[in-house]
Amino acid sequence: MSGLADLKLGFIPLTDCAPLVVAKALGFFAEEGLDVSLNREASWATIRDKVAVGALDGAHMLAPMALAAAAGASGGLTLDVGPSLIAPMALNRNGSAITVSRSLADTMRAADPQAMAGPPVSARALAKVIAERAGQGAPPLTFAVVFPYSMHNYELRYWLAQAGVDPDKDVRLVVTPPPRMVEQMRAGEIDGFCVGAPWNAVAEREGLGEIVITASAFWPGGPDKVFGVTEAWAHHYPDELRAALRALIRASAWSDDPANRDELVVLLARPEHVGVSPKVLERALADEIVFHRDGAGVPRREHALWFLSQMVRWGQVAADTDIHAVADAVYRPDMFRAAALSAGPLLDPAQAFADGPGELAPLFEGPAFDSTRAGPYATAFSIGRARV
């Protein structure tokens, strides 16, 4: 007996649940003395609620979901007493993509072949299609994202707005669970979506859609999921948290290693994990998703601030929200660092931290994000709903 409490962790069937699945399957949790049960959940809302009430100890989470509650976003919490969520580790960088239906891609190519010479492509061709449709009185195109507080929502909105498309006025935006994106595209209910791997690759493989831009082209090294727990749980179970983080960090390093790729793909493909064919999992793992190297596991406050700037931009939180305080309360690189350092020779610190904050890459068709000026950045966009 290790004396550590048993843990229940939740995940959503997506490629980037890999660190949790690997830490369990390869015995990294067990080596830390942790008995972990993994629970596959059907929605982000349920993940959030279960972690909040303690039915789960921690989970695979959308990074903005963890930030939303602390920022006072209207949809951040279900519960009357809102336990604060914290993100002591980032699970991956990149992994999402924007896909449009084959017929929309063809229409876009006809409208502006130059803008469609990609991927990545600009939404300029889409802007022309939308203007034409509006002129003909056709109904707006429908795009789906996975959750209001998600990289996917902000990525799609940013990409559209850079080409002059107002995501709240010029298209219809809906929320659809990841596994249903492809079937809704097949049914013609949605014309495009932004979702995490492997669902973009599934749409392409089934001949239904075309990927127009991947997250790594949208924002190289941009953030995605985190491992989330409540602040209260982290306070009461510091040893369990540190042990779990060590196991997850090892699992992330293992998942990055191309030598383990085949094994990882087989593991993720299993029905109790992601439950898709290994082929579609390979794509984003090959050159998109980074789990560990270059400090990918560090929950960077610059990333939190970018998410918060987008919440301000789209009116999800008030413009006078103290986003720097929220970022510091939720994102906890100190916990990541302590866990990684305590792993001793199992980890290469140069990879785990990629020391120094590192420059942020510029966003697609836009400037690099300067986190010291996050507030003015959030309200400076010509298309936005900032509540100043």
């Binding site: 519960l79 009357d80 959750f147 709240d168």
Partner: protein
């Protein structure tokens, strides 16, 4: 009051809907999936949804869209009854209500949903146990047959031997029978 029940498990949804019909005045509709158009037509005051339904995220997003396109559904946040939301989450039920609906009117609905969820879980548990018992009985029958053939015992003797093995090992008779069959398989060379 109109209640929409969304549950991928149709049997449980039927049970919840039936229970809710006892709470009046109610109009209950149930569906395996949340369809925005259908929901808009029905205009529910409360949506009761199974936590395992992927449609929860869609439902939550409707609040976000309310600025430009007002919709009636918002999430259930009841500050007057601490612990209720926690209880519901643990029971696997989530509820979304129209803004302004008195919490006291939602309480009985949520109570019915939670009790029916618990009942379903218990029934499923009982069914699994019956299946396992049946399976174990079949295994015991086969092990008895094996002992009768290999040891030249009559049925009663075979059963007594199995029971003794079970007692000596402190294991259920079904488990001992399964072990015996597995070992017999190994000895015959069909192990894998």
């Amino acid at each position: 009051m109109r209640v929409l029940v969304i549950d991928p498990d149709p049997a449980r949804a039927a049970l919840v809907a039936e229970g809710l019909e006892g709470v009046h005045p109610l109009e209950v509709r149930r569906s395996e999936r949340f369809d925005e158009r259908e929901a808009a037509q029905f205009a529910p005051d409360v949506v009761v949804i199974a936590a395992e339904s992927p449609d929860r995220d869609t439902l939550e997003s409707l609040r976000e869209a309310s600025q430009s396109n007002p919709r009636p559904v918002v999430m259930f946040v009841d500050r007057s009854e601490p612990g209720l939301a926690e209880q519901a989450v643990r029971a696997g039920v989530a509820a979304y209500v129209v803004d302004g609906l008195a919490p006291a009117r939602v309480r009985p609905i949520l109570d019915v949903a939670m009790s029916r969820f618990a009942l379903t879980q218990q029934l499923r548990g009982d069914l699994a146990k019956v299946k396992a018992d049946l399976e174990s009985r079949k295994t015991v029958e086969r092990a008895k047959g094996l002992l009768m053939k290999e040891r030249g015992l009559d049925e009663d003797g075979a059963y007594r031997l199995l029971r003794k093995l079970a007692m000596d090992r402190g294991k259920p008779i079904g488990a001992v029978a399964a072990d015996l069959l597995a070992f017999a398989g190994v000895l015959k060379g069909d192990a894998s």
